[in-house]
Symmetry: C2
Subunit: 270 residues, 2 copies
């Protein structure tokens, strides 16, 4: 389930994002507002954190506030705008200050670690589409942070801009695997171990020639066999964690290599 940014009235959504719910309190006729944009956004985040993106419905958010779904439409133009606001609000949690004294590489690793933890705290954020982004203040704040950290590598602006994308895709992708693994557990009640055990047994039955058909995979699986580090953390989650750690090192190595090439003066020889 990918959820797309609101494509309606740009002026209204951007005002909600950048100027908060109200630009000055209202004082006209009619009953006093019992809700606020802020309260609705907060309730939306609570629902999404607790039950996931699929459970985020206008009914659910309204219910949490003691209202019907339709009551929310007084404050928020549509579900898409509500999600934009939730997304930008929750991004405020991310730190912005990273010590560059120990080098950009350590700072970048720390940022990636914080972002990873953030995505796992709010896994629904991974389902917000990245094309045609929300363009809220906290999205730019996060971007400013990453760009500042990676600027230390001394890449030309052209490369820097794309490397930021690479880092985002990588962190989001690995975090998503963990998020989906957790979702599968809560949805089915079957642990990663039990799932894998059952599946691989059936796999052997159904494809007895597996090792002949896929020799390289078979060899890698046996030689690079996974070592359980922590019995309390599910199998697939530990795998994803190691992909994150090893992959991050590889990505940072790659950035260093690109920077080195820049210094040697032939930054365009990709």
């Amino acid at each position: 389930m990918v959820v797309y940014a609101a494509q309606g009235d740009a002026r209204r959504s951007m005002a909600l994002l950048w100027q908060g719910g109200a630009a000055g309190t209202r004082s006209g006729p009619g009953p006093k507002p019992g809700l606020s944009v802020d309260a609705i956004v907060a309730a939306g985040i609570e629902v999404a954190d607790a039950e996931g993106m699929a459970a985020l419905s206008m009914r659910a958010v309204g219910e949490r506030l003691g209202r019907t779904a339709m009551a929310l439409y007084t404050y928020v133009p549509s579900k898409a705008e509500l999600l934009d606001l939730m997304y930008d609000r929750v991004l405020a949690e991310l730190p912005t200050e990273y010590d560059l004294a120990a080098g950009w590489r350590a700072a970048a690793a720390n940022w990636a670690e914080d972002a990873w933890a953030f995505y796992l705290r709010h896994p629904w954020v991974l389902q917000v589409s990245q094309a045609r982004p929300v363009l809220g203040p906290n999205e730019y704040r996060m971007l400013e942070t990453v760009v500042t950290v990676l600027s230390g590598a001394g890449l030309p602006a052209y490369v820097l801009r794309r490397v930021v994308g690479l880092l985002f895709h990588f962190v989001r992708g690995t975090a998503q695997t963990v998020a989906e693994s957790r979702h599968a557990f809560t949805a089915t009640g079957v642990s990663d171990e039990d799932w894998w055990y059952a599946r691989s047994a059936v796999l052997l039955e159904v494809a007895p020639d597996f090792a002949q058909r896929f020799p390289t995979v078979t060899r890698m699986e046996s030689e690079g066999a996974f070592q359980m580090r922590d019995e309390t953390v599910p199998y697939l989650e530990q795998e994803a964690r190691e992909t994150f750690e090893v992959g991050l090192a590889v990505v940072l190595d790659g950035i260093e290599a690109a920077a080195r090439r820049t210094c040697e003066g032939n930054s365009e020889s990709l």
Copy 2:
């Protein structure tokens, strides 16, 4: 919209995946089957290719075959299993042979290019969850291909396994940006250019202090400004394409660095 793999009867789904719809033709009482698993899977792929994952409904697939939605349940246990079959079937399109004579790096770049094109031909594939994977024959075939190609780098199995994950996350992530950008266009009719033009105008109104608040981003945007290469390809799509190209080079550099460290004998010093 992430769609998860079927979690039902493992034996039945795996048999469908590995042994085709029927293990031997049926010859008992009752009317002759008018459909087949193959035909249903093909129709599903057609729907998903043409209208996207969100439009893939049992009703839509049935309609394409001149049946009702419920007719499909005679052949396929549920929508989740149908999607597993669609996923594995469509993966058969990917090439498996890459010439390693020119080095693993060129082969890996070629594979990434083919995978990127594949994902953009079938963007709905990007919405199939990667945790608790489908485990079909073509998924393993693709994995075998990638592992074979990357084996050329001489990484230890432990690292190789994780690097495969990195490469997948990266290719899928960049392709997804393009897929979502295209989706946004067909869904709204607004081009990337028009969208960005309208949004950035409002952004200036609503955040006049943008350059002070986000100086590093502002500097990167102006220095690394995007140069339109091809007027016929949308803006965000060209951006994503460049992230793919630059990012791929960085990732392959990183793999080379990891391999070099391995040769020097301290592969674990990440």
